[in-house]
């Protein structure tokens, strides 16, 4: 265990959020079992009041997860010097592969809780709260994810074996790790570039079709495409976008882009990517809910907003990603 302020902050924060989510889940279970919107009993009134608490806890948890995701990357970036052979945060993550799981969990929690909030907002627009029960069941899953995240964080940081202070043999026998990041970095840039732009075009095309036609198939397709775009974009960042940003033909780190040296380009880059994927995911997820009559209208109205935002963020992301490719000094 490394006693590092960032690590302490992360673990303490995740712990607090987990406890809060656990409390929210207990309330959630009560709501699932006792909920009856048609009743005017005291109990129902109390439950309705509790829903405010639950949704405000989840909002705070989402806010926390966004910030802690950043903090996690910064921290991992700050401690790489403790590991022999690590050149950037990728090295720190490879030092104990659980770190990657923690990162993935954080990303999943981000999407899950923002989708939950979207779900909640739609649900609150209907007078009979049709999604009350499924919503709280979904929340229990988010709680599990948060617990998993805490577990991964703790086991990542406690499992790190930095070459602590001149231990005589440590530095001589240790070896630098390899992981799946290395495999991704090995993807050939040229085909990746082609795949990336084709995917983005495909996404925009499907989104435009969705805006025009009401077909359910298109909505599921766009959700699938959003997932696919996310994977392709992450792979592209590692495989070629980072190269152009760093202007070095072998520097594949997906995290260094957050640093000052690269004008903090990572923030707009990742924010637009995450927004793109988030808005892309929504139509397909809400498609089955259109069957609930009190929601249909609201979903159809929001859907237009989501699709347009999805297109906007796709364009923004592609522009940011293409900028260094077109105007940068590196030629592959």
């Amino acid at each position: 265990m490394i006693l590092h302020p960032g690590i302490l902050a992360l673990i303490a924060g995740s712990f607090i959020v987990f406890i809060m989510m656990l409390y929210a889940s207990i309330l959630g279970i009560r709501i699932i079992t006792r909920w009856d919107i048609r009743s005017s009993s005291e109990e129902q009134l109390t439950l309705e009041k509790k829903t405010y608490l639950v949704s405000s806890i989840i909002k705070y948890a989402l806010g926390f997860e966004i910030i802690s995701g950043l903090l996690y990357i910064y921290t991992v970036d700050d401690i790489y010097r403790l590991f022999v052979g690590a050149m950037c945060s990728t090295g720190s993550l490879n030092a104990n592969p659980v770190g990657w799981y923690a990162l993935y969990t954080k990303i999943i929690i981000f999407f899950a809780s923002s989708i939950w909030i979207a779900l909640n907002n739609i649900d609150l627009k209907a007078e009979d709260y049709p999604l009350a029960k499924p919503k709280y069941i979904a929340m229990i899953f988010i709680t599990l994810l948060v617990g998993l995240d805490l577990y991964f964080l703790v086991s990542y940081f406690s499992g790190l074996r930095p070459e602590i202070i001149t231990s005589c043999c440590g530095s001589l026998f240790s070896e630098s790790g390899t992981g799946m990041a290395a495999d991704l970095a090995a993807l050939p840039p040229k085909p990746m570039i082609r795949l990336f732009y084709i995917t983005a075009l495909f996404f925009i095309g499907t989104a435009l079709l969705c805006l025009k036609y009401k077909s359910g198939f298109l909505r599921y397709a766009i959700t699938f495409l959003a997932v696919f775009s996310f994977l392709v974009s992450m792979a592209s960042i590692i495989s070629f976008i980072s190269l152009y940003i760093y202007e070095m033909p072998s520097h594949h780190c997906p995290f260094d882009v957050f640093q000052k040296n690269y004008h903090f380009i990572g923030y707009p880059l990742y924010i637009s990517l995450f927004c793109w994927v988030f808005f892309g995911l929504l139509p397909g997820i809400f498609q089955p809910l259109k069957r609930i009559s009190s929601l249909t209208e609201e979903i159809e109205r929001s859907e237009k907003k989501w699709l347009s935002l999805g297109i906007v963020f796709t364009v923004v992301f592609v522009c940011i990603a293409s900028w260094p490719v077109i105007f940068g000094n590196l030629g592959l």
Partner: protein, 233 residues
């Protein structure tokens, strides 16, 4: 709201507080009432007769234990709080027995409070506030803290606050309880003017000054949570 059109429909409404507990109170049982647009109606009865409960149900502040309440054509008896608040904001203005102003806050801020959670712009808010205060003749006191005002002025601030979101219905709960005779008459004058502008006024009171006043059209007598009788003047 057109004169005479049915505005609020209450049918067989019961409200029980703390059901199933030793301190269970049956505040209303099987009350039915219709209120038309532009009407002035007084709920009259001793304390504990269910007037206040009736007002809070009419004003969408709480939900009945059973029964049906329709406000402007919308069934509100089963609506979640969030929607009730929305209706309350648009339709009702409240005047309370103790004025219920927020102490140590200026007159204008007290008056504008109902608009804070809405999307109204700042300049529009100021305009509306000045207009309402001007109508009630307390415009020059806008910057004072409310606890430095006299009782009558406080009552006016409370009325101004009730009017700021341009409600169709004014609900007043024992509005004259803390006022002397002259101030009570002033208040009734204001309510009368508002009624002339087309607002519906619902008052709960046991003060004869109020229910003997000529502008009151209908008196609903309540006792023990039931409606005893209706007098139309």
């Amino acid at each position: 709201m057109a004169e005479g059109k049915l505005l609020i429909h209450i049918e067989d409404v019961t409200k029980i507080y703390n059901p199933g507990k030793p301190d269970e109170i049956r505040a209303l049982s099987g009350a039915s009432l219709n209120i038309g647009g532009g009407e002035v109606i007084v709920l009259k009865g001793p304390s504990g007769s269910g007037k206040t409960t009736m007002l809070s149900l009419i004003g969408c502040m709480s939900r009945p234990t059973s029964g049906k309440i329709v406000v402007e054509g919308r069934d509100v008896a089963k609506l979640p709080e969030h929607f009730l608040t929305n209706i309350r904001r648009k339709t009702f203005g409240f005047i309370f027995q103790q004025f219920n102003l927020i102490r140590n806050v200026s007159v204008i801020e007290n008056v504008l409070l109902p608009l804070y959670p809405l999307k109204t712009g700042l300049s529009e808010m100021r305009e509306r506030g000045e207009k309402v205060l001007g109508d009630l003749g307390i415009r020059e006191k806008w910057h004072l803290k409310v606890n430095r005002l006299s009782g009558g002025e406080q009552q006016r601030v409370a009325i101004a606050r009730a009017l700021i979101n341009e409600p169709d219905v004014i609900i007043a709960d024992e509005p004259t309880a803390h006022l002397d005779r002259q101030l009570s008459l002033d208040l009734l004058k204001i309510l009368e003017d508002l009624n002339r502008e087309g607002k519906t006024v619902v008052i709960a009171t046991h003060d004869p000054i109020v229910y003997d006043h000529p502008f009151v059209k209908r008196i609903v007598e309540m006792r023990d949570g039931r409606i005893q009788g209706v007098t139309v003047k």
